[in-house]
Symmetry: C2
Subunit: 277 residues, 2 copies
C-alpha cells in the first residue's frame, strides 16, 4: 500500500496554546486540542467526514472502513493520499470502483455527510456472531499493572484535555495507545494499525477512557477482542450486546477500583490483599 | 402538532439495576443508563438513527431536524408518531413529501444510516453568519449561582453515569435540563423544546457537561445562543468558530473555577473576593 502526502500539505499541530482569563480575572496560557474535519474519500468520492485530532490518520482511515465492514481485504486498497490542505484522505482501491462496491456490500445507501461529521454504523451484527470471541482469564493483579501503565499513556489529554484515549493491550502491556477528539476514532485507529501490522485481537484487551456504548462493544467485537476495559461506565445496550457476544466488560476501572459487568467467570481475584488498602 | 404513541408501545425505563462484581470480589447492585436506537423517519422514510436515553423524544426529534436545518418551519410538521416497539419516531409533514424536500434543501443526499448511529452535520455555516448573535454581559456572581443550581440538575448522571447533560439558562436560572447518552442529543432536545414553546435563544446561556467541539458551537449558534458554558474544555475548531460568530465561551466551569476562552469583554468580574477562598 502506498501512503502519499500531497505537496504543500502540512499536518497541523495537535495542540495549540491560547490565552484565557481565569476566575481571578488573570490571563493564563492553556493548551487546547486540534479538531480537523477529515473527509474520507474512496476513489475520489466522498464517504464520510470525521472530526479528528489528525494523529495516526492512515490508521484511522483504514480502521474506519475495516470496522464498518466496508473493505474486508487490505489487498483491495492500492494506496491512500493524505491532503491536509483540503482535509481529505482518499483511498484508491485496486478496482477503482470502491464506493459502488461498498454500497452493494451493504445493500443500502452508503452514508455521506457533506462537510461535517458523520458516523456510519454497520448493520452486520449477524456477522459479529459468526466469529465467536475467545474469552480468556484475566488476573486482577495483571489488570492493576495494566491500569498503572495506562495512566502514563495520555499525553494529549494531560496537556489539553478534550480527547479520548484507547489502548490495545496484551496482559499488562500496552501495545498501542491512541488519542483523538472523535469518541470512536481512537478505537478505529487501533483497528487500522492492527490490520496493517497483522495483529490479532484474540488474546488482547481493549481499553478506553470513554463510555462503553453499543458502538464501542461492536467495534471491539469486529476486532475480535473479548475483554473491554473502561475508566467510565456502560450503557444497557452495550452490556446486553457484550453478554450476547461473550465479552468481558470491566467498567469504572480507575486506581484500585473496578466493576465487572459481564464475564465475571473469567476474572481471577488474586490481587485483593495486595492492592486494596 | 399531534403527538401520537403507538398502542402496546411502552417507553423503556431510563435506568436499569444490574449486578456487578467489584474489586473485592463482592456482588454489588449498580444502575446503568438505557441506550435505544431511535430511528427518525420522515413520512415513513428513514432519515437517521440516534442512540438515545429515550427521554424527551419529541423534543429530540424536533430539535434534530431544526438544528440540522432540515425543517425550518414548525407548521410544516403535522404530527409525530412514536413507536417504542419498533424504536421509531415518524414525522408526518404537511406536504407528505418531507424527505425529498430536505434533500432538495441541502442539495445533497440526506444521510440515512440503516440500523445504527448517524449524525448529519449541516453545511449551512454561512446561514449561521446571516443571523448575528447578540452578545450580552455576564456577571461572575451570576455564573456562580447558575453553576450551583446546575450541580443539582443531573439525576441520571448521579444515578447511572454515562450520560451528558445540557441546560438552557436565563441569568442564574435553569429553564431546561436534559440528559442523554448521545453527546449532542441533549442539546438537540433543548432546541426542540425551545421551538415548540417559542423560547428565543438571544438572552440565554447554553450549558453542557460535554466538550465544546465545533458541532456544539454550531448547534448553539443555530439556537441563537451567544453564551456557551461547559464543565469540560474546548477544541481549536470550536473556539475558532465561536470567535468568528462572536460567541462567549466559558470552559472548565466547575466549583469556583472557570476559563473564559472568548468574549472576555462580556465577562464582569464582580464575584472574585466573595467566591474565591
Amino acid at each position: 500500500m502506498i501512503i502519499q502526502k500531497k505537496l504543500n500539505s502540512e499536518k497541523p499541530p495537535i495542540t495549540h496554546s491560547v490565552t484565557v482569563i481565569n476566575q481571578r480575572g488573570e490571563k493564563k496560557q492553556v493548551m487546547i486540542a486540534t479538531e480537523i474535519p477529515l473527509t474520507i474519500k474512496v476513489d475520489g468520492q466522498e464517504l464520510v467526514t470525521l472530526m479528528t485530532l489528525g494523529m495516526h490518520q492512515k490508521d484511522l482511515v483504514l480502521g474506519y472502513v475495516r470496522n464498518q465492514g466496508l473493505i474486508t481485504d487490505l489487498k483491495a486498497i492500492e494506496g491512500i493520499t493524505i491532503d491536509w490542505e483540503n482535509e481529505t484522505a482518499d483511498i484508491a482501491t485496486v478496482s477503482g470502483n470502491g464506493l459502488i462496491e461498498m454500497e452493494k456490500k451493504k445493500s443500502t445507501k452508503v452514508v455521506t455527510s457533506g462537510c461535517g461529521q458523520g458516523t456510519l454504523f454497520s448493520c452486520n451484527l449477524d456477522k459479529l456472531y459468526n466469529t465467536p470471541l475467545k474469552p480468556f482469564k484475566l488476573r486482577q493483579s495483571t489488570l492493576y499493572t495494566l491500569l498503572k501503565s495506562l495512566s502514563k499513556c495520555n499525553p494529549i489529554y494531560k496537556t489539553a484535555g478534550s480527547v479520548h484515549g484507547c489502548a490495545l493491550c496484551h496482559g499488562s502491556k500496552v501495545l498501542l495507545f491512541f488519542e483523538d477528539v472523535g469518541r470512536h476514532n481512537a478505537a478505529d485507529a487501533i483497528s487500522g494499525r492492527m490490520w496493517t501490522e497483522h495483529i490479532k485481537g484474540t488474546n488482547k484487551i481493549l481499553y478506553t477512557t470513554g463510555r462503553l456504548t453499543s458502538e464501542i462493544v461492536m467495534k471491539s467485537a469486529a476486532m475480535e477482542i473479548s475483554v473491554l476495559v473502561s475508566r467510565s461506565g456502560v450503557t444497557r445496550m452495550g452490556l446486553d450486546l457484550a453478554i450476547d457476544l461473550g465479552m468481558t466488560i470491566i467498567g469504572r476501572a480507575k486506581g484500585s477500583n473496578f466493576s465487572v459487568f459481564s464475564g465475571e467467570e473469567f476474572m481471577v481475584f488474586d490481587g485483593v490483599k495486595k492492592q486494596i488498602s
